[in-house]
Amino acid sequence: MKMEKAILASVTTQENKVHGSAAVFKCETKEEMEAVAANLEAILDGIAHALSDQLYIIVKH
């Protein structure tokens, strides 16, 4: 099955903002969040989108 437009993971510094079935990565600082998001982007072949300064989602397009 080909998946289109799915949230593969979310990376956040504010854990209480995210819930759900996708993997949630809790980070301490903004820099750590960016590093994790950059890594996940490469690994998962998705795009890191910023929803706010505290929340990134990795989306498969």
Partner: protein, 294 residues
Amino acid sequence: MNEYTYPIILGILVGTALRVFMLRTDYRQYPTYLHGKIIHLSLGFIAAALGTIAIPSIMEKEFTAVTFLTLAASQFREVRNMERNTLTEMDSYELVPRGNTYIEGIAVAFESRNYLVIFTSFVVTLCYLALNVWVALGAAVICFLLSGMLMSGSKLSDIVTVEEKSISFDGAGLYVDNIYIMNIGLPERQEEILKYGMGFVLTPKEFSVRSTIANLGQRQAILHDVSVTLGVFRDSGTPALVPLIKRDLNDGRIGVFILPQEKDSKRAKEIIEHVPVLENAIQMPSKKGRRKHS
């Protein structure tokens, strides 16, 4: 040798020559290789032979021989399928794919070129047999000019004006002029995009054109042509670095965001202007007559 030998030879020669004339490898990189060319030249030869033979068979009152032409039609429909299949297979491995609309356009062109060859050989042989060799040669020249005209469709510069516009970020949102393209989260990706990216805005010259350039296949064709010619700054596994075209819903303009390897704005503009307007994307809503209200 009989009275038909020379007319048949001339018809086949002119037809095959026409196929060679229409078989040009250009920036679209297709057909690139010798084998691809041989396939099309052989089919062109067959088409020329079929068109030529029709005339002597009619003169000999062998009317059933004309049914050969129906065979030709199904044969050349097969050419379209062949082109479509090959290109679709290859497309999945392109960094910026051609898109199905473009592929369909190319496949249709390959089929129709064979019919032009049949028609040319038919006319040339007819002129030779009915009149003389000089008229036949004149007809051949006219057919060449006509084919050249028929095979060159319109370009984007005929229907839109292309302007280079700056690209910018508003938060995570990437904009070309004021057209939103996509959300790029990571600061390092944003830097790469600002460094390598280029933006163009295509403004339609008239109302009908809006739906043509809004066609997703037409947009993909623009991206493919630019990426093939100027290279593309991306790799598999970097989906964030993807050239994209988005539309301004208010006025039908489209914003083209590209990531060329070679950042040459003048050339990029030229290439966008020379992208063919795809037959399948053309729509003419303004041709529809307005209903009179009584």
